[in-house]
Symmetry: C2
């Protein structure tokens, strides 16, 4: 439950012990020994660092109930023979339960915000609303399935029940599941409704080759032509970009959601982090879904982003920790339209409390390096979103029920596999 | 403290609830409802899986006190201007304290065995002996430093104090810090003392090129010629192997310690997992040291091994979870000369208890996939080594002192940086 005011006493921010006074979901003042009286004050006695939370700009939350269901397979075997058949059996409740399992895991690793694309978005939006996360749930669109239309209508009917921190955007799947005409209609819908767009783009070499063959242009060029690219658009993957694509993304300010683990596991290719940054693109980090990762930890994802940047360039100075950390925090928040991702007055009161007595953080030469290269979710003790605790002492309210529900759904899926 | 007999009641092994009866450091019987009376019996009520522990076949434990000290640098800048100068200031106590910090972290992630190469091996051996781990500490040899000779003599003087589960092997650094004559002397010493060998080999393209230039052969060829390769030899990295090198390693049964994170972070290159396995080589997994990783989690390392195998081959079926898990457990144990790495009667009683109520393990389609692709050390609640608990309910005896000591050493290093 969000308190109107909350004071975190004696937390470490940028190496100094300070108090953080939070008012109406925003950091109001951050300084030593604040006199402000708050509805609730917690004294952390210098044992916790308060750092920005993580913003996960591309995920499919509900797929967490498929973690480990099928791995180490070629992409189309994986999709056609494993993932799509089981997905066709998932109900609203299954998706709600899968999304709750995902959000439990995200909160444990300090992720407070998601950009989710999946069937039956109302189920995922409800989970986010109940569990205190923020961000966008995509009104999912692909070319053929009737299910997406029913899911769309159910989601719109549910929209008035959502808190302001959870909102819909429009999630056209890709240029290979939607026609240019459908993409143009979606662009028009985005303009008239004021919703942002999230879309998969240029994930595989085949996707780009097929798009060129069908339309004489790259997916990025086609998305621009259809009117889908602006500064609120998030494009997942972007593994195969031409120099012109990079120029388009930089010019339109559309945001890349880099998914390094998924790209590696599915052999989609190696994202050009150095080239897109040098070209002026906005880059953020997403976990993708659990079936292709297989976890939702921004720690894993940051390390993979740094290591794959080095592997791709064979330059050990590529993908430095400070850059990667900025992408996972501040740039992610900006991509989601949030004035957040920093612990500073005026910013939304999202944040992570880190256990400074944890073995991983004990050397303490460089906290950002430790978070990018060494940490795992066990360094996170508490998480704040929108000025409220969403993880407290390592626990999320109702987690036993979340896990029991998930085990039940997974046992059913396993029995029918 | 090791009990003579220990019974783990109602643990899940290979999907079934069983009891594991341990006698004198070995799994004696594993079956449901064992009648054996033990000195200590613990009932886990089906809530824990008992799985093999991890065997870390290449590390530099003490470097954990340098975690985050210098990252994202070119190799020789990193070594010459950062790592080597600070290493020159480290005392026996610093190395002992760094090794204890490392072993705390290893135990938390289920690693019970190490193969360590560093200055002043007595300090590291003492830490392993005290903290209950097993494995080899290398009598470190590089070409020039007097320090290695003093460390060598101190280590030999300490040898009679070690328990049988901790032993020395000989750790010549590499072909680029030792002459062929020195390598031959080391091979002779190994033969006369019965000690195994651990050595860095073919880590970088430059190392191979320089070796060819100096000696007209690859490092693997040179090591064979000098008599260092047999089935007890562990070679760290082996990133740059020729087909003939692979044939030599397969024929001599020398073991590769694959270090995927370190190879990626330092841009050493991409190890050929598929090619070495297909060529009949023995492959295991090591974390390398914390300055080039920057953590000691076999979970991180297994995921990196799987992902880099896929990246290198662009084949999503490469580096499957079942293979990677075998390398980190059974193959690692075999490499260290141990009849362990499996939960089975007659095997050494090493093992990990996993919290089956953990969110990461809740989908439960495939435990091995979950451990390789999704898990982090927080799934580990207890660790057994040699029939004794070395981690119990997430904690290691004396961990507060270990952390306080480490913070003190790191603060001193930071003040002088």
């Amino acid at each position: 439950m969000q308190k109107r005011t909350l004071k975190l006493k004696n937390v470490v921010v940028d190496g100094k012990i300070v108090d953080a006074f939070i008012s109406n979901g925003t950091y109001a003042r951050i300084a030593p020994n604040l006199a402000d009286e708050a509805e609730e004050t917690i004294d952390f006695a210098g044992g916790r660092a308060l750092v920005p939370a993580f913003y996960n700009t591309h995920t499919h939350s509900a797929m967490t109930i498929l973690r480990g269901y099928a791995d180490d397979l070629a992409l189309f075997d994986w999709l056609n023979n494993h993932i799509w058949p089981v997905e066709a059996t998932l109900s609203y409740d299954d998706i709600y339960i899968g999304a709750r399992l995902a959000m439990l895991e995200m909160l444990r690793s300090g992720i407070v915000c998601l950009n989710d694309s999946y069937w039956l978005p109302a189920a995922t939006a409800r989970a986010a609303a109940e569990m205190g996360l923020r961000g966008a749930v995509g009104l999912f669109r692909c070319g053929s399935a009737d299910q997406t239309q029913a899911g769309y209508e159910a989601a719109l009917a549910y929209e008035s029940s959502l808190p302001s921190r959870v909102f819909y955007n429009i999630a056209p799947h890709s240029v290979y599941t939607l026609s240019p005409k459908q993409l143009e209609e979606i662009a028009e819908e985005a303009r008239t409704t004021g919703r942002a767009i999230q879309v998969h783009a240029s994930e595989t070499a085949d996707e780009v080759a097929n798009c060129r063959k069908s339309y004489g242009m790259t997916p990025i060029q086609l998305l621009e032509k259809c009117g889908l690219l602006d500064e609120r658009t998030v494009l997942a993957h972007c593994v195969h970009l031409t120099p012109e694509d990079i120029e388009i993304l930089a010019r339109t300010k559309a945001v890349i959601a880099h998914n390094p683990v998924s790209n590696a596991k599915l052999c989609s290719g190696m994202f050009d982090l150095a080239g897109t940054i040098a070209g002026g693109c906005r880059v953020t980090i997403g976990t993708d879904g659990c079936a292709s990762n297989n976890c939702l930890s921004m720690f894993d994802e940051m390390k993979a982003a740094a290591l794959t940047a080095k592997i791709r360039t064979q330059d050990p100075t590529a993908g430095p920790a400070s850059l990667i950390y900025d992408l996972a925090t501040r740039q992610g928040a900006l991509a989601m339209g949030l004035d957040a991702g920093e612990i500073a007055p005026g910013k939304l009161a999202d944040g992570i409390l880190l256990d400074l007595s944890h073995p991983i953080l004990s050397a303490n030469y460089n906290l950002v390096s430790d978070l990018v290269y060494a940490a795992d979710p066990s360094v996170v003790t508490d998480v704040l979103c929108d000025g409220a605790f969403v993880l407290r002492n390592g626990h999320v309210p109702g987690e036993a029920e979340i896990l029991a529900d998930a085990r039940r759904v997974c046992a059913r899926i396993k029995a029918h596999a």
